[in-house]
Subunit: 416 residues, 2 copies
């Protein structure tokens, strides 16, 4: 058993789909972020199947060493969901129908879904009589707040936006009221163009001299490394971590992309907005992925005009105006072709800046001269067109992601 340090939480996710790999658990990461921001450390994350003994054991064991156990999943209307009767039995309650939850089910079915209401939907309003019901504004399954031997247990549906709504509206505010927590402080920066080991060499003395309670972590991703300082505990820790963060920034300054916990696309978006410039993208090998990264950001229409996914050569020629002779002579994956793609999309759309990608993502497509993972990227503005090439050595999905990250970094550097 681990000693408790401060207020600690465990995240417990329930569902067979988690144990056979059919679902990637994104809820846990979201919940961990929300808890950390509230000053509550997550001690462990545990996933178990739709199995009575496994859930019971996990509730018993995790409850012993934690103040809070947050549970998601296992609350749907179908019979593979056993969580609710189990919770009723675990906390020694009786099932009753909750009036508020019942009204909510009826309203959702009559107003939003426009579908007849089944007996099993009504059942979703049944809850153990010894829990506090947490309203679900976004779905039919209510949340449940239990307490037992000094530990709080909160059960929420596994549907991400329903869980997120309950956490934001109810669970986090309630937990903050119950525990006097000083939030955990994080400071994160993003570097590019330097490997994890080299950063570590450079930061050896800095890390050794960090005051007790401040931790440095290296988070490498897509050839870029995020550095994170974390401090918890005392109220005066904020000044301390800010001071260390300034030092850290000066130690990595020539590789610093941004001194915030932003993604590369968010960084580029900020730059475009500040400069009041617009962007268009011509994608071959990335197939719409870079465009998707921008259009996921709210308000992206302020700087992102759109793009062309010129997956076939015919589209490179017909829609982007690439010279067929250039493709013939140098190939579709060449700095010559990608330059014309970038110039073409910029002129077609009237954007201030453009980028273009062309490459061989695998698993097939290799030629004598060009290996899988070979990528050409171009940047174009009214002032200049620049190109660069990369050789990645991964699988298709990772090659696409790496190309996107490096193309965004190339855009960032070129728009200056």
């Amino acid at each position: 058993m681990i000693e408790k340090k401060g207020v600690v939480a465990v995240i417990l996710t329930i569902g067979d789909e988690l144990l056979i790999g059919q679902t990637i658990d994104t809820n846990s990461a979201w919940m961990a972020t929300a808890l950390n921001h509230a000053g509550i450390a997550v001690r462990r994350r545990v996933a178990v199947g739709d199995d009575w003994d496994a859930i019971w054991t996990a509730l018993t064991e995790e409850g012993k060493s934690s103040d809070i156990v947050l549970i998601t999943g296992g609350l749907g209307p179908t019979s593979d969901d056993i969580t609710k009767p189990l919770l009723c039995s675990f906390f020694g309650g009786e099932m009753i129908t909750d009036k508020g939850a019942l009204d909510n089910v009826v309203e959702i079915f009559s107003k939003k879904l426009n579908r007849p209401l089944l007996e099993r939907n009504l059942k979703q309003a049944d809850v153990p009589d010894n829990c506090r019901v947490i309203p679900n504004k976004r779905g039919t399954a209510p949340g449940m707040w239990f307490e037992k031997e000094g530990t709080i247990y909160v059960s929420m549906p596994g549907v991400p936006h329903e869980m997120k709504g309950m956490m934001t509206d109810d669970v986090i505010p309630e937990l903050k009221k119950r525990f006097d927590v000083s939030p955990v402080q994080h400071r994160t920066l993003l570097t590019a163009g330097i490997g994890e080991s080299f950063l570590a060499e450079r930061l050896l003395d800095f890390e050794a001299a960090l005051p007790k309670g401040i931790k440095l972590a290296y988070l490498p991703n897509y050839g870029m490394v995020r550095l994170r300082l974390t401090a918890a505990g005392a109220k005066d820790v904020e000044a301390m971590i800010d001071h260390q963060f300034e030092q850290l920034k000066s130690l990595v300054k020539e590789h610093l992309v941004i001194d915030q916990d932003l993604t590369l696309q968010e960084t580029v978006a900020q730059m475009l907005l500040t400069k009041n410039k617009t962007l268009a993208i011509a994608e071959s090998c990335t197939g719409g992925y870079i465009s998707h990264l921008f259009t996921l950001l709210p308000g992206s229409s302020a700087y992102y005009l759109g793009g062309i996914v010129s997956y076939s050569n015919a589209l490179k020629i017909d829609l982007l105006g690439v010279d067929p002779a250039i493709i013939e002579q140098f190939g579709a994956v060449s700095i010559e072709t990608v330059s014309q793609m970038a110039d073409g999309i910029r002129k077609k759309t009237g954007a201030d800046f453009s980028i273009a990608t062309s490459g061989i993502m695998g698993p097939s497509g290799e030629t004598a001269q060009k290996q899988i993972g070979f990528v050409c990227v171009a940047f174009s503005s009214k002032e200049h067109t620049s190109t660069t090439t990369f050789q990645f050595r991964f699988d298709r999905q990772r090659n696409i992601e790496l190309t996107a990250a490096h193309a965004l970094d190339f855009l960032r550097k070129n728009m200056g």
Copy 2:
């Protein structure tokens, strides 16, 4: 403690980033799939931070009730990684330098990375003397195979493609040799246009009559429900599950999309290949996401020509040929505009089929007539143009994903 049933494994992931939400754990899902295919059931998944006590406790507790503990993470070259010395101490070994791992580190640095080799990189070749070293063909950190009191512990790096390589080349084949397992059988189908509760009503008798050892699970996702039959144990279970699967298919036949564990885009891709037809896409609100879903699939250039992300109205007019008067009169988010987008992209690219999307994804952009989540989708072929509308009620990302799923389903139905 839970009784062991068959050969059971636990997946243990290590890293502070998992507990503060900075990383979504995709490794566990991949590993769970690989283990299940090999006939090894996953009992639990546990994630702990870079904390000596937490890792030690997890190894002790999970080892007690499992045959296999697969560990990822905590093996990088930087000092926030404490896993290796801990494993050495936990299994009572001494650190030695492994010749093969050392050669691998030197080769990777000299041939692939073209970077000078640091002392801390060489350290990656150090391993406890009581493990079997698992070669890492894709990175510098070797894997380690330990055995203690009848349980196998395998430690692998957290970098996904390195872990996947070791699992495929070494760990899974070795585990199959060690345990006489009959693979778990899964049969999965995808339905569309019917809710989880309605399916459950319809399948009530079927589910009640399922033979012991066969389980039915409902996996709702983006308004579609996947149904999965699972059977484990005896060798004759295959015929039994196939028989039940046929029954299940006939019970849901008018909602059946496909009787395989395929995504909607994989299903559509198969149909296009079979029909020998090509596709092009004009995306406004989905911003390149549908294009990305297709281009992630290997070999997609055989049927996918490309598309236009016409995020701005100017691009809808200039690149797709939408009549400005139509946008003026009906708005960019209208069945009139989206019809012209679909026709436009089909004619521009010469594709056999096309789809187009336009909608309001939020958080802003609502009008008096059109709410956030309102989406128009069009299909176009030489024979006909069809449109449909949806009203989603979620956040931006989920609205984009739902639009993509429903547009793909609309495409599937229209190409017949």
